[in-house]
């Protein structure tokens, strides 16, 4: 139960800290919306939105704003070196990782709650024809992205050029997630919804999540100790 207790403590602390300033939530949300808008201008043809672009724009917005949020979240821990205080505490180190991951997932869920309807609205995309499947795709994809992102952001805290290195490291590794997310969402947007295809991509995402969360738990301690 120690593991779960630690996770809970870390998440609670992160939520409390964020609730005080709300800085990361507001800025990430704003950035995600701005992202969608900027891409929209690139894809709206004579006032008619290109519906096919909707899945891509949705997932890119999630990826970009996720990267931003990760950077900010760990910059906060770096400022007062509180990450060191966490590392020195008598806790299971992987629990710290899970706690941080949970915090990021909460944040990205909030972002997606706003951005998904926004994309549906702006692109006339019937994203809610299969809400359960869409939610599952979003959950699995966001988890995959955040799982790798949390680990990388944490390990880069002490590195030089960490701001630019996070996206450089993160995007190539999470391309399978983006592909699966976009293709899966696209399958749901077709005139005759391709449920088996969406399910296939969902399965790949779930497998990715399992593999990479396990890998992250395994490598967190060696990567974080100097």
């Amino acid at each position: 139960m120690n593991f779960v207790q630690t996770v809970w403590l870390v998440v609670r602390k992160d939520v409390l800290v964020e609730a005080r300033s709300r800085e990361i939530v507001y800025t990430t949300l704003f950035f995600a919306v701005a992202c969608v808008l900027v891409f929209a201008f690139g894809f709206v043809n004579e006032g008619r939105p290109v519906t096919d672009a909707a899945p891509g724009i949705l997932w890119i917005a999630i990826a970009f704003s996720g990267t931003l949020a990760l950077g900010r979240a760990f910059e906060r821990e770096r400022q007062n070196e509180t990450l060191r205080a966490l590392m020195i505490a008598p806790v299971d180190r992987p629990a710290l990782y899970v706690g941080k991951l949970a915090g990021i997932l909460l944040l990205l869920t909030v972002v997606e709650v706003i951005v998904v309807p926004l994309v549906a609205l702006l692109f006339h995309a019937p994203l809610f024809s299969r809400p359960a499947l869409l939610a599952a795709l979003l959950a699995a994809g966001t988890t995959g992205f955040a799982a790798v992102g949390t680990l990388f952001a944490a390990m880069l805290v002490r590195a030089r050029s960490r701001d630019v290195l996070l996206p450089v490291l993160l995007y190539p590794i999470t391309i399978p997630v983006i592909i699966a997310g976009v293709r899966g969402t696209a399958a749901l947007l077709q005139a005759d919804v391709d449920v088996p295809m969406a399910r296939a991509w969902l399965s790949m995402l779930v497998l990715f999540d399992v593999v990479f969360v396990t890998l992250a738990l395994w490598t967190f301690e060696p990567l974080m100790t100097e």
Partner: protein, 218 residues
């Protein structure tokens, strides 16, 4: 390894000199004609690139969990070679594609995934170069993740229909083609092993030099 290096280099050089003749002697493929022959270099390069990615990943895992500096040096060498062979694959691929299918680039899963893998190992090299002290460990972590991605990369081609010849093309090769193909594979892998050991050796020398510098500074 040291003693075998020169003779093996000569062997590898010899193999590469013989290769064009063997390739010339191989039968033409029915649909693509002469152009298909780039396959004899393209596919072995791809195989070598994947092998190198896995070597880097395994060496990185050893370094990460056992802390052996020799493993880190091997990983760095393998990452560089992954990048180099990646360039070969990503150049010969479009050259072949242009002649065979009329376009320089197609966004099918295998080409894209190879590109992604190449990007990952370039990111590894960037991290090592610009991440500051201690970045070797972080790069090792990245390589482990990169290697874990390889199955996802390879698997994707079997999920979708693609323009790319299916992975099962190798066993169905005509008998006349099999000889030159495996000859080229051997040549590439031999070259890879030689380059890898030379590069790792260079890193070891560099590490020794660093230690000497540190000692002098005292």
């Amino acid at each position: 390894m040291r003693r075998l290096f020169l003779p093996l280099t000569i062997v590898a050089a010899g193999m590469f000199m013989c290769a064009p003749f063997l390739i010339d002697g191989a039968p033409y493929e029915s649909t693509m004609g002469l152009v298909q022959k780039i396959f004899y270099f393209h596919v072995p390069s791809a195989m070598t690139m994947f092998v190198s990615a896995i070597v880097c990943g395994v060496a990185s895992a050893v370094y990460l969990f056992k802390g052996r500096p020799a493993a880190d040096r091997l990983a760095a060498a393998a990452a560089e070679l992954t990048s180099v062979f990646g360039i070969i694959v990503l150049v010969t691929g479009p050259l072949w594609a242009r002649k065979a299918w009329g376009v320089w680039w197609v966004w099918d899963e295998r080409i894209t995934s190879t590109f992604v893998l190449w990007l990952i190992f370039n990111a590894y090299l960037l991290l090592r170069k610009y991440g500051g002290p201690g970045s070797e460990r972080l790069a090792a972590g990245l390589a482990v993740f990169g290697m874990a991605n390889v199955p996802f990369v390879y698997w994707s081609v079997n999920v979708w229909r693609t323009l790319h010849p299916k992975t099962t093309v190798v066993p169905t090769l005509q008998p006349g083609m099999r000889g030159p193909f495996w000859f080229c594979v051997t040549a590439f892998l031999l070259f890879y092993v030689l380059a890898l050991s030379a590069r790792a050796h260079l890193e070891a020398r560099r590490a020794e030099l660093e230690t000497l510098y540190l000692d002098i500074e005292e």
